[in-house]
């Protein structure tokens, strides 16, 4: 596994952006009741799309470690209690880069990236749910929630696919952003449940409340940034604006 200079520079600068988004709280868009839509995983997604899975994973490692440090040294809210645990703040984030890259590549190749994104969601939710059932807190509520959520996502995915059928590049970017954001939410909430910090039903509620807007925000910003960047780099000498 060799890191060429371009990837090193890319990973370094995008990690700096991720740290900035966390430290200056620009990355937290307040929603309500203390829950925020977070966009600090966007450098991971963009790094993975532009630089590949290794770059994405390195950025996600630095992102996770910086959220760990920030939660310990300058905590700002109740969620920072959990992020002092590296199992919650670092380990789940390591997969975001690879997922973003994989979904982007397969979506560009086949145009069906949203199917993969949905697959990620379903597997994550199945894992969460089975853990809950195995541990003995089985109830019908979360099961109905999972099924409804999966159906809703399938519907939204279908609408997006119909709208962007003619633009495979945008579709690939949206799929990658959605899948990676979903993976972030599911994996972090799953880690919270497995470490016993949050009961399964509450984690599911947080995920359902937060996820749609986070995925939408990530998709919008990713498409905007990556298409602007590719247009700029296609014209030597920078943009004409």
């Amino acid at each position: 596994m060799k890191l060429n200079t371009r990837n090193i520079a890319l990973a370094g600068v995008l990690s700096a952006v991720s740290i900035i988004l966390a430290v200056t709280r620009v990355g937290y868009i307040p929603f309500f009741a203390g829950i925020s839509v977070t966009i600090m995983h966007l450098p991971v997604i963009i790094g993975a799309i532009v630089g590949g899975p290794v770059v994405g994973t390195i950025i996600s490692l630095i992102f996770g470690v910086s959220s760990l440090i920030l939660a310990s040294v300058s905590p700002l809210g109740p969620s920072d209690v959990f992020f002092t645990d590296p199992w919650v703040s670092v380990i789940p984030r390591l997969f975001i880069g690879v997922i973003a890259w994989a979904v982007y590549r397969s979506a560009r190749a086949s145009g069906r990236g949203w199917v993969i994104g949905l697959g990620v969601l379903l597997s994550g939710l199945v894992i969460l749910l089975s853990y809950n059932l195995v541990v003995g807190q089985a109830s019908l509520g979360p099961l109905i929630g999972v099924v409804v959520g999966a159906l809703g996502l399938a519907g939204v995915g279908g609408i997006i696919w119909r709208a962007f059928r003619a633009h495979p590049e945008e579709l690939a970017l949206i799929s990658a952003a959605v899948a990676a954001t979903l993976a972030n939410t599911v994996l972090v909430l799953g880690a919270l449940v497995m470490r016993g910090y949050v009961p399964g039903a509450m984690a599911l509620a947080i995920g359902v409340a937060n996820s749609p807007l986070e995925m939408a925000a990530a998709a919008i910003i990713t498409v905007a940034v990556v298409s602007a960047w590719y247009q700029i780099s296609l014209r030597p000498g920078g943009s004409t604006v």
Partner: protein
């Protein structure tokens, strides 16, 4: 985002230079000690183990002559939340099992020694991790840490992992944090000068997301452009990472370093033996 000075947010978590014995240790010793204690805190599930680790951390903090107000400030702001979470864990019976001895039963509420221990472990673990991280940050300069990580990771190069590349990525990230913060400042001011003040506008989550775009898209574009230029500069100087390069500052382990490492190793082994 008040007053366009984003860079002021970067002053938290700075080194506190008190020149204590802990400060004089090699950064590698501090890193390895940190990792050892981290492992205990993260994997420990019995109350005595985690409490002992907390006491050791507090002891080292005292040795490092860290002013109490620093240590207490972060912890104090989170204590109410940690207590609420502990209560929630008790209520939701997290960590319960059929073999646990019951203490209290009131309707659906059931508190056992297991759930009590689990909540206590979580409480102590959070406090311990916060103090431990603060200990590392307050006693080590960032460049010292990166140096230490690079030296520690050098043997990994022979196994094939790009240790120097990773250390360089960390160094670049830290070096570019103030730069990107100033770029973000400049972007906010430029947008505001054009009448698009990003701090005001309609509330409502969709509007807030849309307001963030004029800052993020240029910020990422600038970041990507800087990365490309940095890569070109590195390539034109034939800088291929640290393989085979000597170092200007040589890290040397002294007797105190080896002694401290032995103590930490003993403690970790003891903690695992205990449970």
């Amino acid at each position: 985002m008040e007053d366009f000075r984003l860079i002021q947010y970067l002053t938290t978590g700075q080194v506190i230079p008190t020149e204590s014995p802990i400060h004089r240790l090699d950064p590698r010793t501090r890193l390895l000690g940190f990792v050892g204690m981290l492992v205990i805190f993260v994997t420990g599930h019995s109350l005595p183990t985690v409490t002992a680790a907390l006491l050791v951390t507090v002891g080292v903090l005292l040795l490092a002559r860290v002013p109490a107000c620093y240590a207490v400030r972060g912890v104090a702001s989170l204590i109410p939340w940690v207590l609420i979470i502990a209560v929630l864990q008790l209520v939701f019976r997290i960590g319960d099992g059929p073999e646990c001895v019951e203490i209290l039963r009131f309707g659906p509420l059931r508190i056992t020694w297991c759930t009590l221990e689990f909540a206590g472990v979580t409480l102590v673990r959070v406090l311990g991790l916060m103090l431990l991280m603060g200990l590392l940050i307050w006693t080590s300069s960032i460049t010292g840490l990166v140096h230490g990580i690079e030296t520690l990771a050098r043997p990994l190069d022979r196994v094939g992992l790009p240790a120097h590349g990773l250390a360089l990525v960390g160094a670049i990230a830290l070096r570019f944090v103030p730069t990107m913060a100033m770029e973000a400042d400049r972007l906010l001011k430029a947008q505001a000068a054009r009448g698009g003040d990003l701090r005001q506008g309609k509330s409502g989550i969709v509007h807030r997301i849309r307001r963030v775009l004029p800052l993020l898209v240029p910020l990422f574009a600038l970041a990507l452009r800087r990365a490309e230029r940095l890569a070109e500069a590195m390539d034109s100087r034939a800088y291929a990472g640290g393989r085979g390069r000597g170092q200007y500052v040589l890290l040397q382990m002294k007797r105190t370093d080896w002694l401290s490492l032995c103590l930490v190793a003993l403690f970790v082994v003891g903690a695992f033996a205990w449970g």
